[in-house]
Subunit: 204 residues, 2 copies
């Protein structure tokens, strides 16, 4: 990741989407494609899944540690989701933004609502699964969850999709490449917004 510091601040992006919508795959694609972007790593109290690395996919912490982070005001947002806590450490995000680096938060809808309230200039995107059938298939293929948990996640997915309207953009994840194209286009378009280019009007 390159950094640039022409005095311009980075922009804060929020991506939400139900478990099984393909967010992790999308984020992996975006990491390959995008320069000058920082993906916030969430802290969580849930158990690591197969292949997940501490500090990379999540910061895995105990419940006690998580409560301490809340108490110290170290989290930009936090929320409970299917029995576990998830939160966004504020310090690395704010540092990146001040260095002119765009920050992407991959967070669920409750946390996203909090961030949008606190940071009205945040650009929010909701990742929609191609279909609910596709979503269910993905959840079952993941196979680490019990049937009961899969059902809970599906019910949760429907609730979350019902909140998609509060987001600025909706990304359709039929194919991950197309979804990544869309996110990339949104990031480029947001750079072109007049409010972000006023320095051109005043220069010359």
């Amino acid at each position: 990741m390159k950094t640039m510091n022409n005095g311009e601040k980075g922009r804060l992006y929020v991506i939400s989407g139900p478990s099984g919508a393909g967010k992790s795959t999308l984020v992996a694609q975006l990491l390959k494609r995008l320069d000058n972007v920082y993906f916030s790593v969430s802290a969580t109290t849930r158990e690591p899944r197969r292949g997940e690395r501490d500090g990379k996919d999540y910061i895995f912490v105990s419940r006690d540690k998580f409560m301490e982070m809340i108490d110290k005001g170290e989290l930009l947002e936090y929320a409970e989701y299917v029995g576990n806590y998830y939160g966004t450490p504020a310090a690395p995000c704010d540092e990146m933004l001040s260095r002119g680096v765009d920050v992407i938060l991959d967070i669920e809808t409750q946390g996203a609502a909090k961030v949008m309230k606190m940071r009205p200039d945040a650009i929010s995107m909701f990742l929609f699964p191609g279909s609910f059938a596709q979503l269910e298939e993905r959840l079952r293929l993941r196979s680490t969850d019990s049937e009961e948990k899969i059902r809970a996640r599906l019910a949760q997915a429907r609730i979350e999709c019902g909140r998609a309207e509060m987001y600025k953009y909706i990304i359709i994840n039929d194919r991950v490449e197309t979804a990544a194209d869309e996110v990339e286009a949104i990031i480029t378009a947001e750079k072109c917004r007049t409010v972000n280019r006023l320095h051109y009007l005043n220069g010359d």
Copy 2:
């Protein structure tokens, strides 16, 4: 140009920018790249420049004919610019929009202001020259205009750039390819706006 008609309406785009900002070259690039987009052809009372084709670059009409079009309400907007009239025939635009085709209007700032007022959902972009020096060079290279006209166009360019703030997006035309990338990204991003994807939320 392909057309699609899944019940979705097209979106109306407005591009403005001073003479010499490179709009024609940009539009030519976009025509090559974009599917399902209709570039509105303006009617004008000005003389054709070398290489310009009637009905393709402009619809060249007499002053009398232009006044008749105004009287009959056939123009979406019209304006006077450096002694000539320019206007957008409404019928082809509205037909394309209703067929689900995006429409791009390449119009100057007065006309753009009218369109934005009448059609608040229009997506407006202002094409900024790389610099005023670059703009002056382009105007002189064009060489069909007298020194007096070049000066008038330069003065006009500064006035128009002062109106860039009323546009939603600012495109910087340092390189035409980058400028075309930006316009393409904006068109993709606008398709992803939640308001344009509500049908996904209601379906499955």
